[in-house]
């Protein structure tokens, strides 16, 4: 009892007056897991720093998001969860939620409403994909190409990736079926709204692999997000897919002769999840943090540091200029109307079901 009282007293001292309700006791230290690099930096600037200033909480950064799913399961089995908030991709959040490793969220209850009073669940809209994931940003997987290697007619559609005659040279694709199968079918003449229906069938999967087979010899397969930017910068590939934020930094920050090909971009989300089974004080702290970090202003602030679109509708008008370069960020957002003329909405449910099956076929095809 004495210890808790002392703890409470210290917390009360360090916490700015009136910011935290005294009802629930909250931990005064938390570990947030993210991807590292420019992305973590954007979160540090937009979420962590203001939150630490406001509450006096000590935030510890861990850059383990790439292995988050496996580590969370291991922690859960060991009964010792050391993370408080974890940044993962949408597909991973589905797996974590299904496995019972992530806590379920009541969106309207736990998250802040928009400034105009729109409820959180309406404000996030379609970006809410399951009961556990708190959407943060919309990013897209899209293609970039070397302007000096494509001649006078730069590629205009995603299907130019499959045209090795007009655009000879290597291209880089991600070493997994997700995304590639959809593009292959699209460029093999399947209508956009039928792609997942076709991909459900073994024949459709064969068709997609057959289309990919036509460029197999010209593909360098990447597995880390930094690969394609490096390959483009070195002139190893003429075009390649990667996350749009990575291309932004190649183009705008490093001034490489690279251009974006927004056509056929594949929308995806990055989300926060709170691990299931946290002790009460840490859970309260984690909830308090995500309520702050996912509010309208914070999401809009993040876009100052990285070219990913905020997941809230109400944040879009607040997006301003890049913190260092001073350029207007809106045209670099995947969600900008000019860029989003031909967009793929990634079907998470489909991939949650078919990932194991199609991945086995895809890897067998790759290894041949």
């Amino acid at each position: 009892m004495k210890l808790t009282k002392t703890l409470l007293a210290t917390t009360a001292l360090t916490v700015a007056a009136g910011m935290v309700s005294a009802e629930t006791e909250m931990a005064d230290e938390m570990t947030i897991v993210s991807w590292g690099g420019a992305y973590s930096n954007s979160q540090q600037q937009a979420y962590h720093n203001p939150y630490m200033e406001m509450t006096g909480v000590n935030i510890i950064n861990d850059e383990s998001s790439a292995e988050a799913v496996a580590k969370l399961r291991a922690m859960n089995e060991a009964g010792n969860i050391t993370w408080d908030v974890v940044d993962v991709t949408a597909a991973d959040s589905i797996r974590l939620c299904d496995e019972g490793l992530a806590m379920e969220i009541d969106f309207d209850e736990d998250l802040a409403a928009a400034p105009d009073g729109t409820s959180a669940s309406d404000d996030f809209g379609d970006t809410i994909i399951n009961d556990c994931a708190i959407p943060l940003i919309v990013f897209s997987t899209t293609f970039g190409y070397r302007t000096d290697m494509v001649g006078d007619t730069p590629p205009t559609t995603v299907c130019d990736v499959f045209d090795t005659e007009a655009y000879p040279g290597k291209r880089s694709l991600e070493k997994r079926p997700i995304g590639n199968m959809e593009w292959a079918l699209l460029c093999d003449g399947v209508a956009k709204d039928e792609i997942y229906d076709v991909l459900e069938t073994p024949e459709g999967q064969e068709q997609a692999l057959a289309k990919l087979d036509t460029i197999k010899d010209d593909v360098i397969w990447w597995s880390a997000g930094a690969d394609t930017p490096q390959l483009l910068a070195d002139g190893e590939v003429v075009m390649g897919s990667t996350y749009n934020g990575r291309l932004f930094s190649v183009i705008e920050e490093q001034n490489q002769p690279v251009e974006m090909l927004w056509d056929g971009q594949m929308f995806d989300l990055d989300v926060f999840i709170i691990p299931a089974g946290l002790p009460e004080d840490r859970k309260a702290r984690a909830l308090d943090y995500v309520r702050f970090a996912s509010d309208t202003q914070r999401l809009a602030d993040q876009a100052k540091y990285i070219s990913y679109g905020p997941a809230r509708a109400s944040s879009a008008p607040l997006v301003s200029t890049h913190a260092e370069l001073g350029i207007d960020m809106a045209p670099h957002m995947p969600t900008d109307p000019a860029n989003a003329t031909n967009v793929f909405n990634f079907n998470y449910e489909f991939w949650a079901d078919y990932r194991d099956d199609i991945d086995a076929k895809f890897q067998a095809w790759l290894a041949q």
Partner: protein, 567 residues
């Protein structure tokens, strides 16, 4: 140390008594006794045992450390390759009912199975386990994941039909308190009321009234599950909770099957009698149809066959998958050709590890020879060059090879500049097997050079000189005299390099492209991405078995004594 001296002490056994008696004589005169009259053998054993025990205690800390931190985790991980309790734990009623169903008849399971499934999924979704089972079975049959997710969402509505009818009949059934009064012993009711007021200590566990349990067995069992869940998993106060919809379904079932409620007295007795009279007129639920409404896949025989096949607590499914086979109702069969992957990766891993070991020998042998024959000062300087890669991060070394080997990289640029290859046909040295072999040979080379060097250091140069002075050519002297003595170093280096390379995955992942990846990359994928730890464990177990098998073969053919790491 030669063998004939080893027999020495035995020979002079009796020397102390001055009588070098032949052994046969003492052997005939019964067991030899020690000073205290016990047989010498037993006495000796005792002394040895004490010594052994002391030695054991000395190494015990290390032994326990290794057991706890190394052997136990590996054993635990390998055990997952056969473990399969999740199905029977999540769907206990369904798997029991399903045991007698014959899928070959081409008919979906009988209604009783669907009823069991309803209860199982209801409880599973309360405990949030249904999606976990869904992803487990999705490894075996595509689509099960969303089937369970969807069913979990809809299963709530299914049973409410009964709940609504009971509640319409009498408002008594709406209240959880009434239920508690009816089902629980009066003692427990007192306890929980007392506990609810001050909340001190732990919540008194629910106690069922025996006469109720005797008359309404299904209801009692379901209510008990509900009570346990509320009290111990959710840690809520049972006094404030209303029962689940499946409790009402169970009550309906009990009353339908003619429970003798007239014999009951106490709280709820009159309401029960009223309900018993009314249930005949209740609208009933057809679970078979209800599940079909949720998803028509529930009427797909393949789904049920999968659940049935994976009902047992242990499965060979992961191991079959690891060798490109699968379980089917007719026994194990090969997977379709476009899904076969693992055997090929195993073969490739072995083959490439052999190539890497071979190239390490080819490159390492001359280096080690030079090191061993140079004066110490120069040798030490060169040794630093050999050790330098050890002190550099693996990732840095691998990434450096990327810059070196890519088509616009240093090697290709140099070759083009020298005119050896044309600018438009640059060599593909990376993102394929060549890349993996080059990078891994470089990374593992020190593991070959160091044992070779330490063995070569012990070969006296005079042997070579003696051979030559007896008329041998340079080659004969090397091949017949020097090389055989360096073989133990080659053996040690090869084992190190081979076993290390068989388990490598970071380097192949970065430079291997698609044709240069190993089985370990697949294991890593299943551990970290697909979360199919069972399959990863099966692949790992096979890999471990292969390595141990090869080690055994090596011992048989070359002899493990013939391996030297130094001196």
């Amino acid at each position: 140390m030669t063998d004939n001296t080893a027999a020495g002490p035995d020979q002079f056994d009796g020397a102390a008594s001055g009588r070098p008696a032949p052994k046969t004589e003492t052997a005939d005169s019964g067991p030899m006794l020690a000073a205290d009259g016990r047989p010498l053998k037993a006495s000796l054993n005792r002394a040895l045992r004490r010594q052994k025990l002391r030695a054991m205690m000395l190494i015990a800390p290390l032994l326990i450390f290794v057991l706890v931190t190394f052997i136990a985790p590996i054993a635990d991980m390998l055990f997952r390759s056969v473990e399969n309790q999740i199905v029977s734990e999540t769907l206990p009623r369904t798997t029991t009912e399903l045991a007698t169903w014959d899928g070959d008849a081409g008919e979906i399971p009988p209604p009783v199975v669907f009823e069991a499934l309803y209860k199982d999924i209801f409880i599973a979704q309360e405990r949030k386990l249904h999606t976990r089972l869904g992803s487990r079975l999705n490894y075996e049959l595509t689509g099960v994941s969303s089937l369970f997710r969807k069913s979990g969402r809809n299963v709530d509505d299914m049973g409410e039909v009964y709940q609504d009818q009971f509640e319409d009949l009498n408002a008594f059934w709406e209240d959880g308190e009434n239920w508690n009064r009816m089902m629980a012993t009066p003692d427990w009711l007192d306890d929980i009321t007392a506990w609810s007021e001050d909340r001190e200590g732990s919540q008194p566990p629910f106690e069922m009234r025996e006469e109720v349990a005797a008359v309404l067995p299904e209801t009692a069992a379901t209510f008990q599950t509900f009570a346990d869940f509320v009290q111990f998993e959710d840690e809520d106060n049972l006094a404030n909770e209303d029962p689940w919809a499946i409790v009402y379904s169970a009550l309906y079932e009990d009353l339908q099957s003619g429970a003798d409620v007239a014999s009951l007295s106490g709280p709820g007795a009159t309401e029960l009698q009223e309900a018993a009279a009314a249930v005949a007129g209740f609208e009933s639920v057809d679970y078979t149809a209800a599940f079909h409404d949720v998803d028509e896949d529930w009427h797909d025989i393949e789904v049920w066959q999968t659940i049935q096949t994976y009902s047992p607590d242990f499965t060979s499914g992961y191991f079959l998958n690891a060798v490109d086979m699968k379980k089917s109702p007719d026994g194990p069969e090969m997977r379709p050709e476009n899904e076969q992957l693992h055997i090929m990766l195993f073969m490739r891993t072995l083959f490439m590890s052999l190539v890497i070991t071979g190239s390490c020998i080819l490159l390492g042998y001359p280096v080690a020879w030079i090191l061993a024959n140079l004066p110490a000062r120069t040798a030490n300087l060169l040794m630093i060059l050999v050790l330098l890669p050890f002190w550099t991060s693996l990732l840095v070394r691998t990434s450096a090879w990327k810059v070196m080997l890519q088509q616009q990289g240093v090697v290709n640029d140099t070759l083009v500049w020298l005119g050896i290859v044309a600018d438009d046909s640059r060599l593909a040295l990376i993102n394929n097997q060549t890349g993996t072999i080059i990078a891994m040979t470089h990374i593992l080379l020190p593991f070959m050079i160091l044992p070779l060097y330490s063995v070569m250091k012990t070969i006296p140069p005079s042997y070579l000189r003696a051979a030559k002075s007896l008329g041998a050519t340079n080659w004969t002297a090397f091949w017949r005299v020097y090389f055989p003595q360096s073989v133990p170093g080659i053996g040690a280096g090869s084992i190190l390099v081979f076993i290390l390379s068989i388990g490598y995955y970071i380097t192949p992942e970065i430079v291997g492209g698609t044709t240069g990846t190993f089985i370990s990359n697949r294991i890593a994928y299943h551990i970290s991405s697909s979360l199919n730890w069972g399959l990863a464990a099966a692949l790992g177990a096979i890999l471990l078995a292969v390595v141990l098998g090869l080690y055994w073969a090596y011992d048989k053919i070359v002899g493990i004594d013939n391996v030297k790491l130094g001196g």
